[in-house]
Assembly symmetry: C2
Amino acid sequence: MRQSRARTQRVTITDVGHAAGVSPATVSRVLNGTAKVDAVLAGRVQAAVRTLGYHPNAAAQGLAKGRWGTIGVLVPDLANPYFPEILKAVSAVARANGHRVMIMESEENPAVEPELVADLLRSCDGLLLCSPRMRRDQLAELVARAHPMVLVNRIVPGLAVPAISVDFYGGTTSICGHLAQLGHRDVAYLSGPEASWANGERIRALEAAAAFGLRVTVIPAGATAADGGAAAEQALAAGATAVVTYNDLVAQGALARYRQLGVDVPTELSVVGFDNLSLDWSGQATLTTVAMPRDDLGRQAAELLERLMTGSPDTEPKLLPMELLIHETTGPAAR
Amino acid sequence: MRQSRARTQRVTITDVGHAAGVSPATVSRVLNGTAKVDAVLAGRVQAAVRTLGYHPNAAAQGLAKGRWGTIGVLVPDLANPYFPEILKAVSAVARANGHRVMIMESEENPAVEPELVADLLRSCDGLLLCSPRMRRDQLAELVARAHPMVLVNRIVPGLAVPAISVDFYGGTTSICGHLAQLGHRDVAYLSGPEASWANGERIRALEAAAAFGLRVTVIPAGATAADGGAAAEQALAAGATAVVTYNDLVAQGALARYRQLGVDVPTELSVVGFDNLSLDWSGQATLTTVAMPRDDLGRQAAELLERLMTGSPDTEPKLLPMELLIHETTGPAAR
DNA sequence: CTGTTAGCGCGTTCAC
DNA sequence: GTGAACGCGCTAACAG
């Protein structure tokens, strides 16, 4: 008999109050600990909740409280191993603060980002935009909506929005220094997604390294191992003695291709990764790369967002340092 | 002046109606296309929406319509490359049906799953439980709440819940057949997470292979490359000539360890992966494994869920076949 | 300490 | 075709 309305008719706070012989308000108080309630009544409410199988309706709570209890996260690509660790850290912080996490991915398509973010905006208390690829003006428009929002891995000069990012410029510079000291003069860069701010930073740093005698050829590649493999030969054609890559995936793809071509690394060619994605199954890392603890990045970003949502207008972009990890894929220049 | 209330005071449907000189009801009608509206009025409404920057409140819509427009997805581990492709496919289907996707991960901790799902239940129209690790009775309790719900990669006998899964048993059997035909008799299995149904299926199939003369030693490992590396030696100690693994990550970890130990694959030892995670950066797969298109799995699961949410009580568990991919890590038995 | 009242923002009857 | 009124389920302010 009570099953007959199982699907459509949810049990409400009024039902619980009815069953416990108290008003809906009291039920609310018991459930949220908003005010002191007589122990006997509280007990009756708890019991009613249990027997009826009551679960508060999130939409109704959101409407009444003016908060959703949810934070939204946008990432370009869930398959990129760069993001899971960030998401894990963010989820942990969010849960610790009683928030759910809504994740959306743009599939590396900058065009859909604004729409996705608009969607998140309508159902979240705060937003975390990870490596957003969208244009500056689109970003500015979203920022203007004045919702708590944190940018991760993107700094937009002149835009007043809290941001936390990694010092990709510095990381790239340390790579360049390492290579220069090994005698390299001709470097190829297997470039990542065009709209990626992080990619731009790497390129800026590489070009600045010209001051130290480094000649850089930028070769469009992408963000995956396949992209790296496909672009690998062009680095050779460019006469480079060292190859810097957008990330470790691209580096692994390139390394595989060089193995195929019989090009020995690092004696004939040096290869440097980026991001320390831990793709060496051997357990001991072999790829020279630059690192930054991603869980830290995610944690700090989430904490910043939580702080924003409770009021404090903390708006100075933060840049986390990278660390050069020298392993076995870099060596003295061949010529 | 209008900025003074930017944070707290959102623009509502009433504001729009006011600005356009129509009733809130009319605004709702033009926005949802619920009924025919005079073109002139509609135009005024559109304009007002644009200039005021109106965005409907998802919670209010949800409350009024009794739907959230969101589907929830639970996964054990976002860092496991098995899930991103599923999530991508699910997101695509969901978006095509006008639904948002809320993702939660349990971090391979079965204990938190019920709580996470309860949370999803309160704010989603339908649920997709991917490889849930929780106990049967907990699952039964959730199913009893009678929400549209689809189980992915878990079949619970005797529980009436729509499910779509992969034929891990069959996949494992084809591995066993392959190994048997190569003359292997002693096989070690590097086992995955204990609470994983998929892991149980693999073990069942391996034990059934005893009928064909295969002796199997089950060695607890885990789901990561590190786990595989750590457990690799025990397979040798067990006297196995072939090692079957929980997944390709475990296999890669084991392979790396064998390389270190100077054990040649496949002449001295055969190694088989699982899931075809495409971890061979070389571009051409080298690991023998079994595969099932994960985007297909995700797509079908999401479509099933969408169907459930619109009514049809489709409740026959579906099992998708796996395909054996023979590459370079398996060969004739050493002895 | 508790019940009653009044909204939160929207969709949807119902009359006009 | 359009507006006014009501209710979705819950919390917060107000009385008692």
